[in-house]
Symmetry: C2
Subunit: 75 residues, 2 copies
Amino acid sequence: MKKYNEEDALLFIVAANLKKIRSHKGLTQEELGFRSGISKNYISDFERGRRNITIKVFQRLIEGLEVEPQDLLTL
Amino acid sequence: MKKYNEEDALLFIVAANLKKIRSHKGLTQEELGFRSGISKNYISDFERGRRNITIKVFQRLIEGLEVEPQDLLTL
DNA sequence: ATGTGACTTAAAGTCCGTA
DNA sequence: GTACGGACTTTAAGTCACA
């Protein structure tokens, strides 16, 4: 498991949920990127905790995944 | 009511909720800024829909307000 | 299908001041 | 107590070539 700071807690929760839900839905990073208008590299970075996304990007990811905001926030 | 783009929907929901909860708790922008380590100007800007905050800042605001993430996302 | 480094540009976020 | 502006520094957005 990756080590993370307290200040990054929510970020890592969102990233982990994104990765889990994305694969459960059978989507690749590239496909999700296409659906949400975000580069696959960026999604890769985010899932590994290397990006601090904005709310706008968060919304686009949710829409691409077809889930609700809270689905990415709940542990 | 302020006009906003579809792509800003979540942002405006969060901003409106922040403002509402903050005042209900009797906190000023400055006090919330102090608690969450964010400048009062930035909070003012955000509440008026002029800023696209990151997840890290979102987390700090939540902690400063002492609420749960979903409290800022639910309409 | 995903991870990484390096990169440019756009925007996040601060601080000063005024009203 | 909040809104708004200018000037500023730091970081996120977004892409690319390649492993």
